[in-house]
Symmetry: C2
Amino acid sequence: MTPGAEGPSPRRRGRPSRTAGTGPDARTRILEAARTEFAERGYDKTSVRGIARAAGVDAALVHHYFGTKDEVFAAAIELSFEPALVLPQVLGGPADGLGERLARYFIGVWENPVSRAPLLAILRSALTHEAAAKVLRGFVLRRLLERIAAELDVPDPTFRAELAASHMIGIAMLRYVIRAEPLASTDPEKIIGMVAPTLQRYLSDG
Amino acid sequence: MTPGAEGPSPRRRGRPSRTAGTGPDARTRILEAARTEFAERGYDKTSVRGIARAAGVDAALVHHYFGTKDEVFAAAIELSFEPALVLPQVLGGPADGLGERLARYFIGVWENPVSRAPLLAILRSALTHEAAAKVLRGFVLRRLLERIAAELDVPDPTFRAELAASHMIGIAMLRYVIRAEPLASTDPEKIIGMVAPTLQRYLSDG
């Protein structure tokens, strides 16, 4: 997503600024600022105030759109996955290609540096701060996985969606964080080709 | 790895403790102290000196047995996996049960609180400190995965062993760190039953 194009705006404290604008552009700008702040500072050191400053809006506007810091965090992560845009395509295609579409979707999110940085920050934060783990558990995984699970015609759909997610998270850890070779330099298409049948099995049968 | 069988050896460097003794017992005690120190303090804040203190030996003895801090770290992680003891059984059984034996082995290591704590510490450290990531990449994964890969009769055996490892690491993240439900409270046998065919496919065929 591109930043809003409203130009520089003098900031006011207190009520939401008249100049920074509200509406979809300000909301997007806040989300992108949040993503950058969480990525650069980690969960713990990021504040609603800092996000507001980076977005050029008032903190009250951040609260207005998102509520608490945890909710901004969850929304900033969701921004990387764009579930509302992508999931219908991923989940809606032919059933026998679901594993491959899902593998391609996740690898694509991780291959993109813009979305990778905040995801790494989230994993780091979740491993070191229970508050961040709780957000990941409560908002992100539940929202994302239950949306996937709702489309599945298998027993224990959430458990199976979690198994699929665990594989993608583990690959992200080894490939992008630990950078274990040869996985770190393997062509994404080769990874997708190997992983797709696994996800397909988890999400569609036995 | 089993402790060396060299028996007690007269120490030369520094002044290793009068009381603690050397030999296999001291080596094991150092490793267990290292495991506890890394688990409790993380990679960054653990020192060879601190490990020596906890084990009741001189720092010189730690260096004598293991070399650098990174090498103690690697050995402490290996202690949890006991590869020399367990891998021959896991890798040596009937080929069609390899996936299940490997899944059971990894889940078993993670289900045991004694080995889980240091593994969590390692994941945390690897995510936040490049030095720890490097140890994990260089010593641990390479040693463990290449030992597994050496037994496989497939193309790209290390890549495939890494895919298998990535799945187990991802499950550990979701189950033990983020504690996402229902995965966090699912019977280990059920997880093993679902994951075994995945590992089997990675390690034995197309």
